[in-house]
Symmetry: C2
Subunit: 326 residues, 2 copies
């Protein structure tokens, strides 16, 4: 949530000399994105975002992300469109970092999505999957099931420190997921977003207006994207409840929206509780690592991993896709 | 350089319900301003900045700052115009803080202003002084000459730690300034910006497009504003020079631009070296305090006070306004 690399007016003018965007009219660092520096840029020809990629993003992945956004934009799916310079190349360098100008997307991210927004997002996700069906790029999910045992190794003590009994639960989750490896292999695969939280989605009022931040996108099970979204869009605090609750109305709205555009096959429905459990585990593990490795006096407080332990308890007891509203 | 108060989409919608600005289309925290939280806001009717005032700004001063910007905007001077809600009131509350929506100003801040930009800024400052000639608001300069001995008290050791001999020089500056108290009392007074650094000025190319950040504005000597600007706009690093150099071309351009709009009277010219010395002292002292009171491991590094000790040495040897290019 910061600007890590400072770009001054002279550096910007040099950079823009390679584009046909006209003179800059406004340029402001924006507090968005944990891994990159982002600037709001207005020129004589329109509004854009300038992104500089900081060290946490692997520069070898950048052509994949840019090709993916170009593909989606060409199919009419609302996402930031990489803007090529005069030589046709969108991925460039600025202040010693890889940099790209993307089109500015209208909309606001919902803090607590409404059922109507969940339905719109479900339909939007299905349209995104369809638009990516002929995308040829491939990228392994670096935070997929194969990585989870490695993320968990040696962290049982940290989990127990958060809540007694948690480590044993996580061990059982990993066993259940490993046992289902053959099932997930048979599920429809494709290109997924893998991090489609509400803060990566834009709405104008109730209308879905676009998706941003594709830096976890990868080749994986399509229904895993749905599982991530059910965790991110349908769990919430409710007055008087000590733990996060699954909002059945919102989950059902999301699934109904998705199925308007692409019907889930029976195998995907069968796998849904396990995929939701896996998605919750993935965010539990990465949060646990951030939690343990962030100094106590750090300015940016890590998010509490226990929010995902609460979701995991719901998923362990879900018997079928019907429990999610499908 | 951060967003201290998080405003979500629901809080924004509630807040905007009191305005006639239409629905929000974009809303992004911007990394601007040390004391406030700022958001870029686009609605169906235009582009704005939403500012939430954090604790470092005295809420009792806010009506003065807002009246000042309204006055300037009404006179056609380019600055952010406070946007009133439907009840006519621009100063409101949001997330427990005083908040205001201001119009969005086009332009970029120059990192190293050109002589042409210095000339434009000089003319712009004179127009600002003229536009404020009939502004009735009054505010004491809390960081004016009366405050400097208090800011300096007990800090001789910190100055000596930065550079041996510095404390004695500062003592002499304070004596010289105190001795000239009668002279400064006779100078033309008015409403001044008092912090017009290049990052508070916008340009589209070489053309001056506006001034922002009036949170040090006050009633004081008009030529003191010029003195602040000469320090901020005309000193720079030069290849091979161990200390900051006064760029005579830029200083002369600034003064010529100012005098195109308002001729300095002989007394103001006489006082210019002393006012420039006072302005450098003011920024030396506040930087010395920030330097001494910021923990060594803080995320935001304070600016080095010695940059102002270098400026002070130039001003001590300046004999007349001619040394600045007037």
């Amino acid at each position: 949530m910061a600007v890590y690399t400072s770009v001054d007016d002279a550096a910007l003018a040099d950079f823009l000399a390679d584009y046909d965007l006209g003179a800059p009219l406004a340029f402001k660092g924006i507090a968005e994105g944990v891994e990159n520096s982002n600037y709001f840029l207005e020129t004589e020809t329109g509004k854009f975002i300038l992104t500089l990629f900081e060290k946490r993003v692997d520069a070898r992945d950048l052509p994949y992300f840019i090709a993916l956004k170009r593909h989606l934009a060409a199919r009419g799916f609302p996402c930031p469109r990489p803007v090529p310079a005069r030589d046709g190349e969108a991925l460039r360098r600025l202040c010693g970092r890889p940099a790209v100008i993307i089109s500015f997307l209208e909309g606001l991210s919902p803090n607590r999505p409404t059922p109507g927004q969940c339905r719109e997002m479900g339909a939007g996700l299905a349209r995104m999957h369809a638009a990516l069906a002929d995308f040829e790029g491939q990228r392994t999910n670096a935070l997929g099931p194969a990585a989870w045992p490695k993320l968990w190794a040696g962290r049982a003590g940290e989990a127990e420190a958060l809540e007694a009994g948690l480590a044993e639960e996580i061990d059982a989750d990993l066993l259940a997921i490993a046992a289902a490896r053959d099932l997930t292999r048979e599920l429809p695969h494709g290109t997924i977003h893998a991090d489609l939280f509400p803060d990566n989605a834009f709405f104008v009022g109730e209308r879905f207006s676009g998706v941003i931040d594709f830096y976890f996108a990868c080749s994986d099970v399509l229904a895993y994207d749905i599982a991530v979204c059910l965790n991110a869009w349908a769990f919430e605090e409710e007055p008087g409840a000590p733990v996060l609750q699954y909002n059945y109305t919102k989950g059902a709205a999301f699934l109904a929206g998705y199925e308007c555009e692409r019907a889930l096959d029976p195998l995907e429905k069968t796998a849904l509780p396990l995929l939701a459990r896996g998605a919750a585990l993935r965010f539990f593990l990465t949060r646990l690592i951030d939690w343990a490795e962030t100094p106590a006096d750090a300015l940016v407080k890590p998010k509490n991993p226990l929010e995902y332990a609460q979701r995991l308890r719901f998923h362990r007891h879900a018997a079928s896709a019907g429990d999610y509203g499908a």
